[in-house]
Amino acid sequence: MTAPIPDPMLPRPFRIEKVRRDLSDTFTMELVPAEGGEFTFAAGQFNMLYVFGVGEVPISISGDPGDRSVLVHTTRAVGAVTKALDALKAGEVVGVRGPYGTPWPVEAAFGHDLVFVAGGVGLAPLRPAIYQAMANRERFGRVVVFYGARTPEDILFKRELERWRGRFDMSVHVTVDRATGKWSGNVGVVTNLVAKGGFDPSATMAFVCGPEVMMRYSAAALEKRGVARPSIYMSMERNMKCGCGLCGHCQWGPHFVCKDGPVFRYDRIADLLSIREL
C-alpha cells in the first residue's frame, strides 16, 4: 500500500516551543511538530505560517538545516498576520505548510570563497546557509559575512555575529546606516563593505539577502569587484498565497517567486529587477 501524497494546501500543526524577541519589531519562534516527527528543509527555503483565523504568510526559515528537531522562523511584525504571530506565546499552535522554494546553492559553492551580504532582517534567511557553510568549513576558501543594519539597535542576531567574528576561520564585517550611542564600528551602507573586498572575486560565490534596493546595489558592488553574475544569488520577496506555484499570486515576469525562487541566480533576474511595473 502506498502512502498518501500530503496535500500541499493542508497545514501541519506546530507547537510554539519558545519565542525570543530579537529587536523591537522582530522575533524568533522555535516550533516543533505537534504530532511528533521531524522537519527537514534546505537553507533558503520558506514555510507558509498560518495563524488560525487570521491568515497565512510566507516566512523564511532561519534555523540550522542540520537540526531536524526544531523549526526556527524569524519574523518582523509588519502586517496583520505577522502581528498576530507576534502575539502568540509558547504552547500555542500554528499551521505550517512547506518547506517551499529554491535553496541557497551551498554545495555548489564548495571550493569557492563564500560571501554573504545581508541587510536588516535579510540576515535571517541567510543564517541557515551560514550554519551549513560553517558545518562544512573545510570545503570553502574564505567565508565572509557583510551585514548592514539601520542602527546598532537594529542589528539582528548580534550575539551570533559576535561569536562568528571571534572565529579564526570567517570574517564578519558589520556596518550601520546611522550610528547611535557608543557605537564605534563602521558607519555607511553595506555596499561600501563589499567594495573593500577580502575575497577572491574570480573564485567567489555570493549570497545576498535584504531589501530589494540593497540587493541591487550589493550585486552591482560585487560585480564591480569582479564577481561574475552567475556566481551571485539573491533571495526575492513577493506577496504569496499558495506558496507552491498554483495560484500565480507571486508571479514576477516569467517566474513564480514561490516555486522558481525565492533564491534566484542574479544573471537570470537582473533585467527584471529594473522593471518598475513588476
Binding site: V78, G119, G120, V121, G148, A149, R150, D154, T175, D177, R178, A179, W183, S184, G185, N186, V187, G188, V189, T191, N192, A195, K196, G210, P211, V213, M214, Y217
Partner: protein, 167 residues
C-alpha cells in the same frame, strides 16, 4: 633620499593610486607626507581650509557633523585603503565635514595647494588625479543617497499607506 622612495612605495601600494605611471607618482611624492593621528585628533574640520587629502593606511576615521548640544553625528566611517577628502580640489577649498580619528590612524597626506599647482602645470598629472577622484566622488554620492533611503525601515508602500490613512 630614503623617504621619497618610501613614500613612492606607499603610493604604489595604496589601492587609490594603483597602477599609476611612475613619473606621475614621483610628482605626487613631492607633495606627500606620512602622518599619524591619535584617537580623537581631527584630520579635517568643517569650515576650515581643506589643504590636504589623505590616503588612509591604517585605522578608522569618522566623518561627522557637529550638532549643537548633542553628540556629533557620524555620517560615515572610512579606513585602510580608502581616500579621505576632496574639498582640496573644489573651490573654495573648504572642508565640508569634521573628520576625526576614531582609532589610531596612519595616513599619507598630500598638500592640496602643492598638488593643485603641479596639476595646473602638468595636465597629464591633473587628468590622472581627477580620473581617480571623480569615480570615488560618484561612489560616495551614490552611497550617501542609499544611506538616506532608510532601506531597513518600514517599507515605503506601508509608509505611504499610513500617510494616506492619516490624511
Amino acid at each position: 633620499m630614503g623617504q621619497p622612495h618610501d613614500l613612492g612605495n606607499i603610493i604604489d601600494e595604496h589601492p587609490f593610486f594603483k597602477g599609476i605611471d611612475s613619473g606621475l607618482r614621483d610628482l605626487l611624492v613631492g607633495c606627500a607626507a606620512n602622518e599619524r593621528f591619535e584617537v580623537g585628533e581631527f584630520l579635517a574640520r568643517e569650515g576650515r581650509p581643506a589643504d590636504k587629502f589623505y590616503l588612509l593606511r591604517a585605522g578608522q576615521v569618522a566623518v561627522e557633523v557637529d550638532v549643537p548640544g548633542k553628540q556629533p553625528v557620524v555620517l560615515e566611517t572610512m579606513g585602510e585603503g580608502e581616500v579621505l577628502g576632496w574639498s582640496w580640489v573644489v573651490p573654495p577649498y573648504v572642508s565640508t565635514f569634521d573628520c576625526r580619528a576614531a582609532t589610531l590612524v596612519r595616513a599619507l597626506s598630500f598638500d592640496g595647494k602643492c598638488l593643485r599647482a603641479k596639476m595646473e602645470n602638468d595636465p597629464a598629472l591633473g587628468y590622472e588625479v581627477l580620473r581617480r577622484f571623480v569615480p570615488m566622488m560618484g561612489h560616495r554620492l551614490a552611497s550617501a543617497r542609499l544611506q538616506i533611503l532608510d532601506l531597513y525601515g518600514p517599507s515605503v508602500a506601508k509608509a505611504v499607506k499610513s500617510k494616506k490613512k492619516a490624511g
